[in-house]
Each structure stands twice: as structure tokens, then as C-alpha cells.
Symmetry: C2
């Protein structure tokens, strides 16, 4: 976290206003629509005429969504922002403004909170988002982040979960399961570390998995690809909670079933190898692991030619009639219900995962 | 909380989706601007052309902002919503949409969470606000609420903290200090209860104070009064944190000083008597107690005639040149710095109070 010889600042010594001044120093407003950011009872946004606003909120809680033993504070801030930004991307919108709610116990120094904010600000810079306000308060135990993201979109371009029809093709960006394998690696190293603090893990060959878990990105680039190709998805959701869960959300909202081909699920070689190392079926990590923040979306069959060679997009199945339910077509060509893949077993770390 | 003979539902038994279905059941959308509420990655709002959107976030944390021993869950939900709504009112805006972030430990039953939501929904009904989304997640310990409120206003009607000028009159709505005395009463009864659980408190003559603490209201009616009289405040803030703190916010944002007359501070007789009972100077409860959610605002001297006889509005002082600082003119006509009134002593229950 910080050099232990460095003197850390007690939160109570700095005081609320001192801390807020420190955290909000140097914030540059990027969007003309942000009329008033930090510093009043509410932020003021002047939406562009004709646009709709998209609003979403995600919580990240210590001990549930992250573990301070291996989550660097700056990454925590970055990830909290990205998780929220990803929800706007999943609506086919552009993220614009962010509010940060932060609860911290007195064990955290002002420097630690500044680290978290630095991560949030970094994400704001990368995704061109204005940090416009929030609330910082003490918590009796632990740390939590409650962010609210605001985005903008043309009304006719918004993509809902509910727009899929039977025979639409089910597509996913990037690759899946890596963040989950990164989590398992970190959990394993934590156990080793707690048993013998002198053990130094060598994870240099697993960097991709760790980065996917600790510093995920939102898939704005995928929206650009689709827009340039003239494809508007019929439905879309981001994968925060595992492919299976998100596919079921699309089905429920659209009143359809779906069929997903296990062998079409994009899995990186390192994810595959590491899953094997952990005795986990790689597709189970992809289906139920979560934290990928890739986009899961459906397209009309007429858009197939435009999408099939798109870099980083995999067509993994299709939507079916509601009566057919949500099915996984396994590598050995069996059709099984999507839920049957160790769903609950993997969920124990999070009673109510983020949507 | 609930009849102990009643069978309570375990959160894990109901599951995330079951709980969300239960909580969001029967939500009626009131505003045409709410295009999509609960049920997608983000809510969709179509702002009225030409209006600005106001956004604010407030956290309420168990053990910091409320105590489960005396805070009924429904009131907690109601208060969390009102605290947020009050921030929109303080900008001279109309509250429109609300997002609810809720972190709960497994000790809470589904029925308990439903009680909190019932309180939030009641406030939404009273203040005509659409509940449009949020996030519910487990917490390792305790309960917290993180709400985000969205409001709407004509751009030229928004009132900021920064608009006050020297010689503007400083006004406050309602009366102050009652919520703080309510808190002290509840804390006292808690101590008595913990010492002897058979002691039944008789607080029937203190109802006003308890209601101010447990079920505050946002002062939308004051905005109406001012609008009807054709008065636009030059600056405004809501009193969540004590008159002294809020007056200082107005001064800092506006680059002014202020003079507040102790004998002009509106204090209800019951607040006065109860403060005396607790050996507290009544004006100190008003200056530093907080949780009043009254409006503190400044008007031009030219509006004096319109405001002076307005029911429920007190003129308590005036803004001065910055160089004169923030002053309290005491009952015995001494001018003392505003901060000197036991500021820190009263703040111990909350390291970082809400703004």
C-alpha cells in the first residue's frame, strides 16, 4: 500500500472538508453537459437536446467483492468505476458522469483513500467521464464503494435486454473466465501467504488473468465496431456475473430461450490451462465465473455476415422459443439446462452479486 | 421489528432474483421522463427539453447514521429517501427518480429488507419520485443504504450555494434542533433499556422531537411559498449537519461572511425545554445538532417585504463581507466566531457527516 516509513495521515486529523478538498483537487470537467460538479447539494447536468440519460449504480464491498489482501487500492478504485461504466456500455450508451459514495473505517489513512480516488480518476480519464460528486462517510468496519454512473445515448440507439427474438444469434466479445481464474489464483496465493508470509508468489506468467480480475476494462471499443458495421444489437447485457446468468437475463427479459454451444465459448489458452491446473472445467469458469465485463448481445440473422469476421466477437449460439428453455449444447453434443453447471457452488463468495 | 412468532425468510433461501422481484413488485412509474426503470443494466430517463438534471447521493450507515435499536426499518427507508430528496429541494429542483443501493448482512431477513423498501416506497409516493433501480448486495456486517436521487429544474431557477452577496438576508425554514434532541432522547432511552430491558419509556410528550429525528420531511412546501411570492433565493442549502456548518458552506461558496443572531434562531418550545433538561444550550442544539432538513437560504434585501411575514420562515441574520468572517451575535449581544460553539464535541458520532 504505502512505504511503512512514510507518515500516514489520520482521517480525523484531516477532517471531512480537508479530505474532500484533497480528493477533488485538480478535477477537470470534460463534458459541456456537466454544468456543476462537486461542491453543492447536487450536481447539475444539462443533457444534450433529444438525448436520453442512462443511470446505473453498483456496490463493491470489502469482504464480498474484493479482498484487501490482494486488491491494490488504486485498482479497486479503477475497477469500481469500470464496473459502473460497463453498465452504460451495455445499454449502447456513452458514459459521462460519475458519483462516488465511499464508506471507510478509521483504519484507513487519508493516503489510502486518495489511492482509491486516484484509481477512480484514472478510469474517468481513460473513459472520459466527469467525477461530479458523492458522499464520503465513516463506516464501523471495512470499506465499501457505491458508485453511480450517468450516461447519454440517442433514444433510438439504446439497446435493452428485452429486444431479442427467437433465431437471433447470441454473440460475446473477448474471452471469458479469465477474471475468475485470476481470482482463484489470488485466493490461492493468499492462503499460501497466510501460512508463510515469507513465500513470494511467482505469478509473472499469469499476468493476463490477474489483470482481468484486478483491472478489468469496459468494452466501449465493441460498441464502435458494431456502429461502424451498421449493426444494432437486438439485446445486450454486460457479463459481470457469468455467461450463464447473463444469458438467462436476456432470455427472461426477451421472453425467449437460448442455445449456447460449449465449444463456441471463447476461452483464452491461459485461462484454459489454469482451469485445468485447478481441476475446473474451463467452460464452467466462463459460464459461472463472472467479472469479465465483456458484452453479451444478440443480432438479427440478417446481420450475420457483418459480424462473423468481426475481430474479438464470437457467435456462441442463438435464441430459441421460450418453451425450449435455456440450453447448453455440450462438447459431446448433449443438450442440458444452462443452470445445471455448478451455478450455486461458485456463487458462495457473493450472496447477491452485482447485476 | 417483526412478530417473533412469524416465520422469517432467510435471504439466501429467497435468492437475489426472488428478493428483487419481491422488492420491486407493484412499482408504478409516475413521470413520463422515466422511460425504463428497474430491470436493465441502467435506467433510462428522457429529460424534458430545456431542463437540467440534478443528481445527488447520500449514504446512511448502521452504527454511524442510525442505530437499529431505536430506528424502525420503515422509518429508516423513509428517512434515507428524504435525506436525498432534500438535496434536490436545496437546489430549488423537483425530485423525480431514485436509485437504491442496499448492503445487508445475513442477519437481516427478507421481511426486514422489505420493511426498509416499504419506507422508501412511501417516501417516493409522498414526494412523487420514481424508484428506478439500484443494487442489493450482502455485507459482511451491518446495513447501509446508498441512495442516488435525480431531480429536474429550469436552468434559470437552480439555486446554488455560491450566489449570496454581502447584505443578503439569511433565512431559515421551520425550527431547528428538534431532531438532535430527539436523537439524545433515543440515546438516553437506549441506555436505560440496555440496563433494564423491562423499563418501558414514556416518550408520548416528546413525539415531535422523535418524529423530527426518525421521520424527517423535505421542505418542498417552502419552494412553493417562495415561488408564489416571486422570490428566488440568491443561495440555498439544506440543513443536514447543523445551522453553523451549513451557514459556513454558503459563506465559503459565496465568498462572504455572515452574522447570525442567536435570538432569531427558530427553536420549538419542546426543543427548548428538552435541551434545558439535558443541560444543553438550546441554540447549540440548533447550530450544531443537524438532521433538521430545513432550508437555509439568502435573499436580496429588496425581497425583504415579501419574506418577512411568510409563515414558517425566519430571518436570522445577514451576509457580510468575507473579511468579517462568520459570526454569531449572542443573546447578550456579543459577536463571537460561529465555529466556537462546541462544534467538535457534538460531532463525535459521525466522523464525516453527510453534506
Amino acid at each position: 500500500m504505502s512505504d511503512s516509513t512514510e507518515k500516514l495521515t489520520d482521517l480525523s486529523a484531516l477532517g471531512e472538508f480537508g479530505l474532500i478538498d484533497e480528493l477533488t483537487k485538480g478535477i477537470v470537467i470534460l463534458h459541456a453537459s456537466t454544468k456543476m460538479g462537486v461542491g453543492d447539494d447536487a450536481a447539475v447536468i444539462q443533457p444534450e437536446t433529444g438525448k436520453v440519460m442512462l443511470v446505473s449504480k453498483d456496490l463493491l464491498i470489502e469482504g464480498i467483492h474484493f479482498d484487501m489482501v490482494y486488491m491494490p487500492l488504486k485498482h479497486l478504485g479503477y475497477k469500481a468505476a469500470v464496473v459502473n461504466i460497463s453498465d452504460i456500455v451495455a445499454m449502447n450508451g456513452a458514459p459521462k458522469q460519475l458519483l462516488v459514495g465511499l464508506g471507510v473505517s478509521s483504519k484507513y489513512s487519508a493516503e489510502a483513500i486518495k489511492e482509491i480516488y486516484d484509481g477512480i480518476k484514472k478510469a474517468c480519464e481513460v473513459y472520459r467521464v466527469d467525477l461530479i460528486g458523492g458522499d464520503t462517510t465513516s463506516s464501523p468496519a471495512g470499506l465499501f464503494l457505491s458508485l453511480t454512473i450517468i450516461g447519454e445515448a440517442d433514444p433510438e440507439k439504446v439497446v435493452y435486454r428485452k429486444g431479442a427474438s427467437p433465431n437471433d444469434l447470441l454473440c460475446v466479445s473477448g474471452d471469458l473466465g479469465a477474471a475468475y481464474m485470476g481470482l482463484l489464483l489470488l485466493e490461492r496465493e493468499k492462503t499460501v501467504f497466510l501460512a508463510d508470509p515469507n513465500m513470494q508468489p511467482d505469478l509473472s506468467d499469469k499476468e493476463y488473468l490477474l489483470e482481468r480480475q484486478l483491472k478489468p476494462e469496459a468494452r466501449i471499443n465493441v460498441l464502435k465496431l458494431l456502429e461502424e458495421a451498421g449493426v444494432k444489437p437486438s439485446s445486450m447485457i454486460d457479463i459481470s456475473d457469468g455467461l450463464a446468468s447473463e444469458a438467462m437475463h436476456l432470455c427472461k427479459a426477451s421472453g425467449t430461450g437460448c442455445a449456447i454451444y460449449e465449444d463456441k465459448i471463447p476461452i483464452d489458452q491461459l485461462t484454459f490451462d489454469t482451469a485445468k491446473e485447478f481441476n475446473i472445467v474451463p467452460s464452467v469458469a466462463a459460464l459461472n465465473g463472472g467479472d469479465d465485463y465483456e458484452l453479451l448481445f444478440t443480432i438479427r440473422q440478417t446481420d450475420f455476415e457483418k459480424v462473423k469476421l468481426m475481430e474479438g466477437i464470437s457467435i456462441i449460439g442463438y435464441m430459441t422459443d421460450d418453451s425450449e428453455g435455456e440450453r447448453l449444447i455440450t462438447n459431446d453434443n448433449q443438450s442440458i439446462p444452462l443452470r445445471a453447471q455448478g451455478w450455486d457452488a461458485l456463487k458462495s463468495r457473493d450472496l447477491f452479486p452485482d447485476k
